[in-house]
């Protein structure tokens, strides 16, 4: 038990520290690297809660794909660090306000759980007994039965976003010579090689 508590405090502390470093690091590449550290610790917290599927998906999707592209973009940008720091104090009150509002909302949720402990049952979620089915299976059974329409709708939203991004950035360029693999494969010796006898000192 004590090991679990220690692990929880370690993951939580490191996650918060990494989160603070994300916004306070001078170099944006360092910010992204700290963001990755925060993701890892969040995954660790998921594992502690017994949600190992979510933990692995968090690492695969966010760390393995999203953060790579993020890092890719940030590394390529030519950023003036001094200019970027100037807006910091200006936006601090607004950012702080949003943070405080989120904190209050979280407190309300937590207070709700404490005041009426059976509030969770009112939502009537068909929860599975996690001692019988693994959480991967439980998630799948919920997502693909009860929430299938919402799940499909979420997929469609992502698809539209992807198509939108491609349409916005695609620009037809002239003079591009693309490789046509079927044409290359179809070439035969007869139509591409010609043997000529060249006499000495004459050329073709």
């Amino acid at each position: 038990m004590i090991v679990q508590a220690l692990a929880f405090y370690m993951f939580a502390t490191v996650a918060i520290a990494a989160g603070v470093m994300v916004i306070s690091a001078r170099n944006p590449v360092h910010s992204v690297l700290f963001l990755i550290a925060a993701f890892f610790n969040a995954a660790g917290l998921f594992v502690l809660m017994g949600a190992e599927f979510l933990a692995m998906i968090l690492v695969i999707v966010y760390v393995g794909a999203v953060a790579v592209l993020f890092l890719f973009v940030v590394m390529m940008l030519d950023i003036n660090f001094v200019e970027m720091r100037q807006g910091f104090l200006q936006y601090l009150p607004i950012g702080g306000l949003i943070g405080v509002i989120l904190l209050i909302e979280l407190l309300f949720v937590f207070a709700g759980w404490t005041v009426t402990p059976d509030a969770g049952n009112v939502a009537a979620l068909p929860m599975f007994d996690l001692s019988e089915v693994s959480n991967t299976r439980a998630l799948g059974r919920l997502l693909y039965t009860k929430y299938i329409y919402l799940f499909q709708a979420a997929g469609l939203v992502l698809l539209v976003a992807m198509i939108g991004a491609i349409v916005l950035t695609l620009r037809p360029r002239k003079g591009v010579r693309r490789q046509k693999v079927p044409d290359q494969v179809r070439r035969t010796r007869a139509e591409s090689v010609e043997i000529k006898k060249v006499e000495t000192g004459k050329g073709i």
Binding site: E52, M56, V59, G64
Partner: protein
Amino acid sequence: MAELWTGYLLPTVIIVAQIIAIVAPLLLAVAYLTYAERKVLAGMQLRKGPNVVGPFGLGQPIADGLKLLFKETVIPSGANKVVFIAAPVVTFLLGLIGWAVIPFDDGMVLADINVGILYLFAVSSLGVYGVIMAGWASNSKYAFLGALRSAAQMVSYEISIGFVIVTVLLCVGSLNLTEIVRAQEDLWFAVPLLPMFVVFFVSGLAETNRAPFDLPEAEAELVAGFNVEYSSMPFALFFLGEYANMILMSAMTTILFLGGWLPPIDVAPFNWIPGPIWFGAKIAMVLFVFLWVRATFPRYRYDQLMRLGWKVFLPLSLFWVFLTAGVLVATGWVPK
């Protein structure tokens, strides 16, 4: 005191011993994989390969390691020091931690977690960070170009690897690696899922930056690619990490498609041989194909690499996911 010993210290000691029992043979295997690579390439090119240090040149990997260890570590003055040092460490670490979930025999596994295959997939998709951090922190054009190539390449091929894993999972009905191997007792998945086996192997070559997809370190264009600024032990860590990743990818191929520790046929002379030996032999066979490919094929051009990943493997693997699911549902073979 006795409770502290049996409750906390003893398990810790046992786990540390198990980790050493996995990592020490792994590092030895990595050292001798470099030797095997040089010998195989030499054999295919009608040369002798390393033959001076020790009998048959068997001391060569040790000599190379010692040489690298005694060289000076050079950190470029424009480099970002912390990230520069962290990059090879990350690569090496990721090459090792994947082995925590690999089952060497039925029940012979360090951590038998429910989502083993996802863990392996996560570890292999994190491999890109070592390369990308090294390329950026070196503050050098060639290293940076190598890192960018690698990032795009590994992210592209990861997708088809993911779909291949999904097809296997459809046939097994579990994410646990031991369950995946047990499901192949009658028939290895390499037979019914042969196209996926090929896609997985080729994507594995791209994911580990091996020839013919070794564009991140294309020596003719990029000098040495992302590790051009590295010397001595940091370079050795990259090297070890890359080869450990190759072995890990071969182990994944073996578990997903070649029946892990299972013998080819469950009859007398074959099932006398213990599982770990079968497992090792299959990994060695896959690794030999890795080396064979390097000796045979020329390097891909970058646009061809992207075409193969996105326009050939992605549609093919997506089609096979649908086909497998359809066949399983139609025939009622869906597991549980």
